[in-house]
């Protein structure tokens, strides 16, 4: 088994975020290491994955709560491009070339956060950016079985309970009011 997936994950986090992650989400970091069992990327080269991963991290950033990186959105997108989003491969291929031109060939993640946002803002109306944006959102909020939303971090943030059924009352106001 190659260690590419684990190394990729670890390299993706800056030193401070890795420490912060280990402190706040020890289980997640442990599991990310365990994720090496999943093997290398299916569609992306490592370089491409690095670029797309950096984009997802700006689109849905890590703040005081987990972002696209912690949700492992890059694996969702990697799988998407060989499954339901195969028709988007071309958009990614061309878009990544364009991104490289915009950064003069430097990996996006090596720019400062402000510079990254500047580059992406200039691209935000392109089909490529829009596609990555939509895929990032899907990776945050699709069921974890699809590769992202790791440990349901996306669902937790928006208060989505994936139980199979519910009993009324559902929210604060019907609870206060009772029934019809």
């Amino acid at each position: 088994m190659t260690d590419s997936r684990r190394n990729f994950l670890l390299k993706s986090f800056s030193a401070s975020s890795a420490a912060w992650l280990a402190a706040n989400w020890p289980a997640e970091v442990a599991a990310a290491e365990k994720a090496q069992a999943m093997g290398a990327f299916t569609y992306f080269t490592r370089e491409q994955a690095g670029e797309v991963d950096a984009m997802t991290a700006q689109i849905y950033p890590t703040t005081d709560t987990p972002g696209a990186r912690e949700a492992q959105v890059i694996y969702f997108i990697d799988t998407a491009l060989v499954t339901f989003a195969q028709d988007k491969q071309d958009i990614y291929a061309k878009g990544l070339e364009e991104l490289s031109r915009q950064t003069n060939g430097r990996p996006l993640a090596t720019l400062s956060a402000d510079q990254q946002i500047q580059v992406l803002t200039a691209m935000e109306k392109t089909p490529f950016f829009r596609t990555v944006r939509d895929h990032t959102v899907m990776g945050m909020f699709a069921a974890p079985q699809h590769g992202g939303n790791y440990k349901k971090v996306g669902w937790q943030q928006i208060g989505f309970d994936d139980s199979l059924n519910f009993r009324a009352p559902f929210g604060a106001y019907d609870k206060a009011e009772g029934s019809w």
């Binding site: 996306g154 943030q157 106001y173």
Partner: protein, 561 residues
């Protein structure tokens, strides 16, 4: 399931298995007639207990076998605002599975009110519209509404019936068979606003059972509702409430993957059956012989199929001597607003449509300055991906600002979705695109539509009322909708309108095509005016009435009566 050979002349072939097709199949098969139902989609979860998927991503990107809606990539269609424009690829779709649109719809099941069948007589017509009275009155349809509600399984409020002009709910000879869906937080907030603004609020009327009924279990409030197949058969779709009854008679075959491309006629002008592509067998062309054809393919595919069925005798398309096939298209227009509340609503739990505000249903041209009314509904339900893609209101579409607002607004938003009574306009049409073809090489459907000026006023009115209601309910922030004229989609009506005069209508009051004695057209296309939208219950009731007539006629050996 009984099967028939295509060469066998069956009594009825029904094109479409949705709201109307399901009723027709059940009624005709139960009366002892042989029936083949043509469905271009797949089986879905027909005959299984709980196989529909709750996984939002899979539901969004289904495999061909899992697909519940038509695919605009193969079932191509084009769109333009008016006849001077060149149509561009459209995104119109419709239910495309055994059970049709009833498998995935929101399931609101309101009756039309009595005056919605006679708006021309009661309120007058308007320039630029085809407002006309229906050839059938509410009193004639009323028993069929009750039959439909009890056989299909409709939940609703206990109704206080009034019959005067200001009535908000149609008079009913029987109550709803099942008690209503839960209040939800949206309902509680509507009640609060209603108390301040003196509005009438009730539970929604829905084809969703809330307790065991007719061998099915009640809604479990799972939240994967509109746009999903129901996992527990609580949504009273044709696939669970009607078609199994038809098949159990031993007289009815449902033939899936069967895409009908033509209704065939003989030299005398009578329908002889239908020709379809068998999608499951390399699109082999098959002719199914039948004594009588029932067309229930929805308000857009029904006129398209009539227009595709050209012959020497019917050069403008079948049943089109009036030239009105495909005209007077009405789609689902409306307008609303959403508001932010302090505490969680969790609207994603339970059925999609919550409380209904009825106060603006009646006409009030003098005060409001527009014709028609509308029923307002409280919602807020969004699945997680849908919520994330649509994004928070008043925030960027990505980045830290997006994330912050998305988390803040999650589960605290209430949306009002309101339908207006869209007016029938002759230039709003479904026809055949002269250039674009579908994946089978047939002319693609072309939709041309721009709402009447009156309807833009109506949309604005309901946007304003929504803002008012949300504020009265205590919203801390309110976002009015932008006016957005429809481009097609669900609720298509009016494209083969019924009437007594063959010059100004396509079918008669029993849905028989004026031009073809053994062709019946039963679905939203029969509508003369749009009502307050929410068309399905009226489609079902019309189908029961049509079937009743057909059974009586066919038993005498002559469906052409």
């Amino acid at each position: 399931m009984k099967t028939f050979k295509p060469s066998e002349e069956v009594d009825f072939v029904i094109v479409g298995s949705g709201a109307a097709g399901g009723v027709m199949a059940k009624q005709l098969a139960t009366a002892g007639f042989s029936v083949v139902v043509m469905e271009q989609g797949a089986w879905g979860a027909y005959g299984h207990e709980q196989d529909y998927n709750k996984d939002e991503l899979i539901n969004r990107f289904p495999s061909p076998e899992d697909r519940l809606l038509s695919d605009p990539k193969t079932q191509r269609n084009t769109f333009r605002r008016n006849a001077n424009e060149k149509a561009v690829p459209g995104s119109h779709d419709y239910g495309c599975v055994v059970g049709g649109g009833t498998v995935t719809y929101g399931a609101s099941s309101w009756r039309h009110l009595p005056y919605e069948f006679e708006e021309a007589r009661r309120f007058g017509t308007m320039a630029g519209t085809g407002i006309a009275d229906w050839p059938v009155s509410y009193a004639e349809i009323e028993p069929y509404y009750s039959q439909a509600e009890w056989e299909i399984g409709i939940s609703g409020p206990s109704v206080e019936v009034r019959t005067d002009a200001g009535a908000l709910i149609a008079p009913m000879s029987k109550p709803y068979p099942v008690r209503p869906l839960p209040l939800k937080s949206s309902g509680a907030l509507m009640m609060k606003a209603a108390a301040k603004l003196n509005l009438k609020v009730t539970p929604n009327v829905a084809a969703i059972i809330t307790e065991p009924y007719n061998g099915r279990s009640g809604c479990i409030n799972c939240g994967a509702c509109s746009g999903y197949g129901c996992q527990v058969k609580a949504r009273s779709s044709s696939a669970v409430a009607l078609l199994p009854v038809a098949v159990a008679t031993g007289n009815c075959e449902i033939r899936v993957h069967s895409y009908v491309r033509e209704i065939n006629v003989d030299a005398s002008g009578k329908a002889t059956g239908v020709t379809y592509f068998n999608k499951a067998n390399n699109n082999e062309e098959v002719f199914q012989k039948a004594k009588c054809v029932v067309l229930s393919a929805n308000g857009t595919e029904t006129p398209r199929l009539l227009l595709l069925s050209k012959s020497n005798r019917f050069q403008q398309g079948l049943a089109n001597s009036s030239g009105l096939v495909g005209k007077y298209l009405m789609t689902g227009n409306g307008g609303g607003a959403s508001g932010l509340f302090a505490d969680p609503l969790n609207e994603y739990k339970g059925a999609v449509t919550g409380a209904a505000v009825l106060s603006y249903v009646p006409n009030d041209v003098k005060t409001r300055g527009f014709y028609g009314g509308g029923r307002m509904t409280a919602r807020g339900q969004m699945s997680p991906i849908q919520y994330g893609l649509a994004g928070p209101h008043g925030a960027p579409s990505w980045g830290a600002g997006y994330k912050k607002a998305l988390i803040e607004q999650a589960n605290r938003r209430l949306t009002m979705v309101n339908f207006i009574s869209q007016l029938p306009v002759e230039t709003n049409t479904v026809d055949l695109d002269p250039d674009a073809k579908d994946a089978w090489g047939l002319p693609a459907m072309r939709i041309t539509t721009t709402s009447h000026q009156n309807d833009f006023k109506a949309m604005q009115f309901f946007i304003d009322r929504s803002v008012e209601i949300l504020k009265a309910a205590g919203a801390t922030q309110v976002w009015p909708d932008q006016i957005n004229d429809s481009k097609g989609g669900a609720h298509a009506r009016g494209t083969a309108r019924m009437g007594n005069d063959p010059k100004s209508s396509v079918v008669n009051k029993y849905h028989r095509a004026h031009d073809v004695p053994n062709l019946f057209v039963v679905d939203g296309s029969s509508f003369v005016t749009g009502g307050r939208n929410h068309p399905t219950m009226t489609i079902s009731a019309l189908a029961y009435r049509c079937a009743d007539h057909l059974v009586k006629a066919a038993k005498t050996g002559n469906v052409t009566i």
